[in-house]
Point group: C2
Chain length 164, copies 2
Amino acid sequence: MSVTDELLVNAERYAASFDQGHLPLPPAKGVAVLACMDARLNVYGLLGLREGDAHVIRNAGGVVTADERRSLAISQRLLGTREIILIHHTDCGMLTFTDDAFKEGIRAETGIKPDWSAEAFADLEEDVVQSVARIKADPFIPHRDAVRGFIYEVETGRLREVKA
Amino acid sequence: MSVTDELLVNAERYAASFDQGHLPLPPAKGVAVLACMDARLNVYGLLGLREGDAHVIRNAGGVVTADERRSLAISQRLLGTREIILIHHTDCGMLTFTDDAFKEGIRAETGIKPDWSAEAFADLEEDVVQSVARIKADPFIPHRDAVRGFIYEVETGRLREVKA
């Protein structure tokens, strides 16, 4: 039995106890969360979110590339969110390598160099500041006055704000 | 009090009851989930995930662009995941507009046309098939034999598989 099959059993249990009725498409709390994909960062649990509350956007590092700017533009323009919470975390995998080395390793193995930046970073706080700045500089995201950046501490479960 | 401030109170409660000890960086279940950012799709709840179990990658639509390929490459190459679960869902916002109209609206308002595709789609099942195909065609993602696509039904809480 694959891990996927195992998780599908959980999904059947979720459906069996499903009693939410009809929830509307726009997030009830009008907020979008952009966070790292890290397995230890449970965005719903941490922020006390429930089904229907918030958009959750995640990727390796919680970085801001064209695709996150796309998701945030859609979130605000079509679905009415107004606040953005950005979350990086301690002990992040993105701190353990460099773009050059990662891409060179892939080139050596596959013969092709990736057409993307790996978005590795060396300083956690600085990358939160950078990511918030990328959002605030984006002309396609209409609401940029409530964008705040945080670091989640995987060791303590604490969320602390990073001030620019 | 902003919504962000309200969620920070929840985060303090989470930290106060935090008792996970040290969880390792690589996901315990060796799986990466790629899903839509939709507020009604609670990936942890649906799949029964706990802190430390799985990478969770999310964006508007649960689509596969360069940034998702980057996250999946990092997930597998640096952090050892081997299976991929892709989840779209019914009543998705991406079914309600077209790329051309969305980008033209932004151009009319800001004077600048976005440098990204909005990735809207007209057929839900077909986009799951497309997204799985994009992953399977990616030369930088090493493990592509366990990639499965699903549609989450926001009306029933049920997860159903889409076969290519």
